[in-house]
Every structure is written in structure tokens, then in C-alpha cells.
Symmetry: C2
Subunit: 363 residues, 2 copies
């Protein structure tokens, strides 16, 4: 699986360089077109339920010194990435930036990391290959998994077969930077529960929730890394497991749900690869704050602004979200996941989650 | 080992409650003394090379309503912690705060999480039991280990024996919240290398540095969590391995080294448990920036202030650190770990680290 991706990624990169060559050969000025990556060129694809780029394009052309330099940098980067794939190596975005200092042509060197980051994103979009398949690693690490899932990870030290309950410590299985090196071998899971905070993840593991309810617990660690979103999507697609998302009850956490379910504006070109539109929100719902009489904090002005902008966001324009957001604006309160402990340490696993999962039709 | 700690922790907590009882019984007003926890009452213990509290004490006495309430909260918390240990359960600081809402006496409830956090720290100091032995978990998770280390972790699902190279994926072994549940079974390691950033940790693992140099790579993930510092100290003490620390070359990273080596002001009561005074700094040293001609950023005003305050810090008052900090103030530049990539992706593992380790006498 992995080797195919590499060969394909390399081929697409070389195609791109060949395209510049052909343009030169035909006496044309080389150029490369990419979708305009601004907020105004992002549209919500109602059929697929995810964000995608619109039809506006920008062209990087060698008809100016600035444009020519951009294409030169692209060619050096393609050369580096192609060699990296050939040697089955990988690197971080920051290393690429520093590495450019060793290139023989000064004008191909990046002047800032923003520039190299953006170029890699452009190459992702144009070649339709993900950064992971270029073997570019993120700086941030993926999170952890605990649950009845048996998998095989292809590492550069050979294959590792790991059961995500029996072969790991309490910390769980650490998701690698590129989860497409994982093959799912077997599972006894009924559903996936993505959890925002470490404190709640640890509570569920301590209470044995994953064992009792055959749950794959994925720790999101706040706004989830790409690796975490990718493996969540694969659990849904390949194992046909319902995916549920459990966060704090505030507008920032609804955005975490949104990025799992619908993708983010920043990586709209990857929605198909990263987003899980079937994901369902468990809570904390604003109505739970009332129903379970949870300890709360008052909404701040920025919370209220964020809720109001969610009401305008196509991802949240459903009857369900409109009702919940209206409730929250009305009660002017928010609650954290861990506030469920006000009813005792077992309330979340013995009462709250089973009730919610039943109401959602997952149990 | 773990069961002993639990019994001892419970005993010490009950002793504390018994002390209040005896004070009542003798017709005295109950009170509890703790070291004053302000910066002015922190001293550097030159013999042990770590921070400890000085001799000033504050007394929480029931001779005022406010003081009586503090002791009431302490007693409820002791009761909760003692029961938690009895049942072999655990909880987070945030859960304790929310849980207090379920207590039958309103006046025992915490009014803020700062208050419950501080009480737990007071109990740590007075009882000389660590928060981990109370089974209070942090919110933040520990980092990961990769290297020739075979260990046994006591989980609540039974024992897990894990080799931190052969039984883990590329993400490594996830350090549990309380690393004292780990027993070291065997190792082929020559030294420990603690690494600040994820990008560098991944570079070392990809290049097989842990295999070639028999290195236990501990990812610090920026300012390290208590669990990460604790396991580092145990690797030094129990396995007698030299500990080296590899960070960015800026004043904030020297503080990361300082917290590994000498402890932090916030947890000065735990220096003996968390600090590794034998730890050595590998770099990036200011002199490396010059010697290896690394890409740099200019020092900001806050960088300069931080360097100047390090010159006043007893932990950094050695010839070595004074020289390095003077060099940095002189060249007015800083460099990141990953800037070593400007000499190629293998430079760090084939040239820089071997040279530094040899100069330090570790290799």
C-alpha cells in the first residue's frame, strides 16, 4: 500500500516538472495554476458535506522575476521530494526550509518558512498527492488510540502488529505521523469515540469504557492533528464504524467537531482524505447543561461572537445545531466535559454516555 | 511497589486528619503549617544542586472563618483521596474541583480550581507524598520513549511487558501519567537523550540514532510534564545512564534544560523526585551557532531579558553557562535544533551529535 503511494507520488511530482519542460520546449513561458486559497474561494459541497475549493485560480508564471523564482523553488523542491521518496526517507516542513540553504542556487532558497510551507501546500493541490505521501512530516504529533483494534504498522524497522488494548500501556497506542502506514487487521469494536481532553480520555480508560462498550477511544488532544483526523476517517470508511465526537460544551469545541466532520478551511483540498462527514456529536450539548444541571462558566464576549458566527457557517446550518446554539445563547453558559464529575466519577460512563449513545441510535 | 506507595500515601493522609483530631481532642484550635510558597522562600540547595523551599512557613488555622473553611476543605479532600486510594482509582485535578460540588457540606466545596489545585499541592508538601501517589492525574500527558529499553508497566488491566523499540510503532512508547507504575526489566542503552521538539525526535528515530548509538530517546515535547521528568530521573538513578538534553539554542530552551536538571520553582518540593542534577546540556550551544554556521534568527528584547535573568539564576552560575550566555548576548542570535538540516538531513546524527557526545565524554 505504502510503496504504491510513494511511486504514484513521485510520478505525479515528476509529471509536474515535465509539464514545465514541455512548456519551455514549446517556446511557452512556464506556468502553474492553483486554486485561489482565500476564504472567498471556499465552498461547502452540499453533496459530500465537506469544504472544497471553488473555481477561482491563480497562476504562477515565469513572466516576472518573482514568478520565475517561485517556479525555480518549486523545481528544487520537487527534486528534493522525489529524491526523498526514492530513498524512502522523510522530513519536516521546517527541515525543508533549512535544507534549502544547502541548495547550490541561492535564488532557489526560501526566504521564510511561510514560503516553503505554502509551496508544499501548492504542490499538494496541484499534484493531488497529500503531504504525507510526499513523506513530509508535521511538527505536531498525532494522538493516541485505546480500544479493541488489532493493527499492523509498517515502520522503517519492519512490521509491528499491535493490539490497542493488550499490547500497550495505559497511555495507549501512539498514532504515527502517517497513519496510512497502518493496516487494520481485526477488531471487536462497535463504534469510535473521539475525545477532546486528556483528562476525559483517561477517565474513560480508567473506567474501562472501551472494554465494556467495545469502543475505540481516539484522543483528539484539542484541535486534532491531520494524522488523528485521517485515522478517524479510515476507521469509519474501512471498518464501517459509527464515529462519535465528545468535547467540551463551548463554541471552540464545536469547531473541533466541525474539523473532524467537515474539514477545515485551511485544508479544504484534503477534505476527502481527512473529513468524516458521518461523524456525530455526542456532547457536551447546550441542552445537556440544562438537563444534567452541570457546573458552568458564563459565556465571554468572544464565546458569543463565535456562536453567532457558527450560526452563519454552512456546516452548522442544520435544525439540530441551530437549536443547540440558540439554547446556549439563551442560557449564556458553557460547561466542560469534566464537569460531569460533579455527579461522581462514574456518571459519565454509567449514565451520560450510555444515555446519549442510545438517544443517537449508536447503542 | 505501587501497592506499597498507595498504602503509605493513605496512611500519611490519615495521619494528617488524625493530627486535626488530636488538636481538637486537646482543646487546641486545629492548624496546619506549610512552607511559604513564594519566590522569596525558594533556595538553591548547593549540595543537591536542586531548588528547595526555605524555612519560612505559613499556618492555616481554624481561628478564623476563612482558615476553618480551608481546613474543612482539606479534610473532605483527604477523605476523598483516601477512598480513591482504597478503591485503587484515580482522578484529575479538574475532576476533584467539580466533584466537590457533590459534597454534602456546601462550605467544603471549592470556589475555583486554583483553590483545589493549591490544596492538593499543600497536601503534597505536608504529607511528603506526591500527587501521583495520591492518584491525582495531570491534564497534560507525558511524552514518548524510543530506545533499547525493556520495561513492565503495571496497568489496571494487568501487566504489560513492552520493548521500547520492538513492540511499538514509529510513535514510540507513550509514558503513562504515573511512571512509577513502570519497572525497568532490561536495557542495552549507553545513554539517554532528551529531545525538545517533535521534528527532531522524529529525525533521530528515522535516522536510527537510537539503534546505532544505543540511545534511549525521550521526547520532552517542549516544557516537559512531570511524568517525563520523573522517568528521566529514574533512568539516571536506577540504570546509571548519563542523561543528555538536546534543545533549541535560545534562553527558553535553556530553561527546559534547567527544569530537567535542577527542578522548577513551581515544584520545588518535588525536586528530589523530579530533578536530574547529573543531566548535561548537549546543545544547541551558542558556540555551536558560530562553529557550525547555523541559520539564525535575531534575539528579541524578551530573549535578551531572559538571558540576562539567567545570568542571575543560581542554576546557571557556572563557568560553562556564563560563557555560553555571554557568547549569545554578543552574537545576538539564536538557532533552532532543526536548523542543523541546513547541512543536510543526516548532519545531526552523523556529525553534530557524535562530535558533541565525544566532547562531553559520553561516547
Amino acid at each position: 500500500m505504502s510503496a504504491d503511494n510513494e511511486a504514484e507520488a513521485q510520478e505525479k511530482l515528476i509529471d509536474l516538472a515535465a509539464q514545465f519542460y514541455d512548456q519551455f520546449d514549446r517556446g511557452e513561458i512556464p506556468e502553474m495554476s492553483v486554486p485561489t486559497r482565500t476564504k472567498s474561494n471556499i465552498v461547502f459541497d452540499e453533496d459530500e458535506d465537506v469544504w472544497v475549493y471553488g473555481e477561482r485560480e491563480s497562476t504562477r508564471s515565469a513572466n516576472s522575476v518573482r514568478g520565475a523564482r517561485k517556479l525555480l523553488k518549486a523545481i528544487y523542491t520537487i527534486d528534493f521530494l522525489s529524491e526523498q521518496l526514492e530513498e524512502d526517507r522523510s522530513s519536516t516542513l521546517r527541515e525543508l526550509y533549512y535544507l534549502s540553504e544547502s541548495w547550490d542556487v541561492n535564488e532557489a532558497q526560501f526566504s521564510s518558512q511561510d514560503e516553503s510551507n505554502q509551496l508544499v501546500e501548492d504542490l499538494e493541490i496541484v499534484s493531488e498527492v497529500t503531504r504525507e505521501d510526499f513523506h513530509m512530516r508535521p511538527e505536531e504529533s498525532g494522538a493516541t488510540i485505546m480500544g479493541p483494534l488489532y493493527l499492523r504498522e509498517q515502520t522503517r524497522r519492519g512490521e509491528r502488529e499491535i493490539h490497542c488494548q493488550k499490547d500497550v500501556g495505559e497511555g495507549g497506542y501512539q498514532i504515527p505521523n502517517n497513519p496510512d502506514t497502518i493496516e487494520f487487521l481485526d477488531n471487536d469494536a462497535d463504534f469510535v469515540l473521539c475525545v477532546e481532553t486528556g483528562g476525559m480520555r483517561d477517565r474513560l480508560v480508567e473506567n474501562g469504557f472501551d472494554e465494556k462498550y467495545n469502543t475505540i477511544i481516539v484522543h483528539l488532544k484539542g484541535q486534532p492533528a491531520r494524522a488523528t483526523r485521517r485515522i478517524t476517517k479510515r476507521l469509519q470508511d474501512e471498518l464501517d464504524l459509527p464515529v462519535t465526537v465528545f468535547t467540551d460544551g463551548d463554541p471552540w469545541s464545536y469547531r473541533i467537531f466541525g474539523s473532524v466532520a467537515y474539514g477545515s478551511i485551511k485544508s479544504a483540498h484534503l477534505s476527502e482524505y481527512l473529513a468524516t462527514p458521518e461523524a456525530q456529536f455526542i456532547g457536551i450539548q447546550p441542552e445537556d447543561i440544562v438537563e444534567y444541571d452541570l457546573p458552568t462558566d458564563p459565556l465571554s464576549d468572544s464565546d458569543i461572537n463565535a456562536l453567532e458566527s457558527e450560526l452563519e457557517d454552512p456546516r452548522f446550518q442544520t435544525d439540530y445545531w441551530e437549536e443547540q446554539i440558540e439554547i446556549q445563547l439563551d442560557i449564556e453558559k458553557k460547561s466542560e466535559q469534566q464537569s460531569l464529575a460533579s455527579h461522581g466519577l462514574d456518571f459519565v460512563t454509567e449514565t451520560y454516555l450510555p444515555e446519549r449513545l442510545e438517544a443517537m441510535g449508536v447503542l
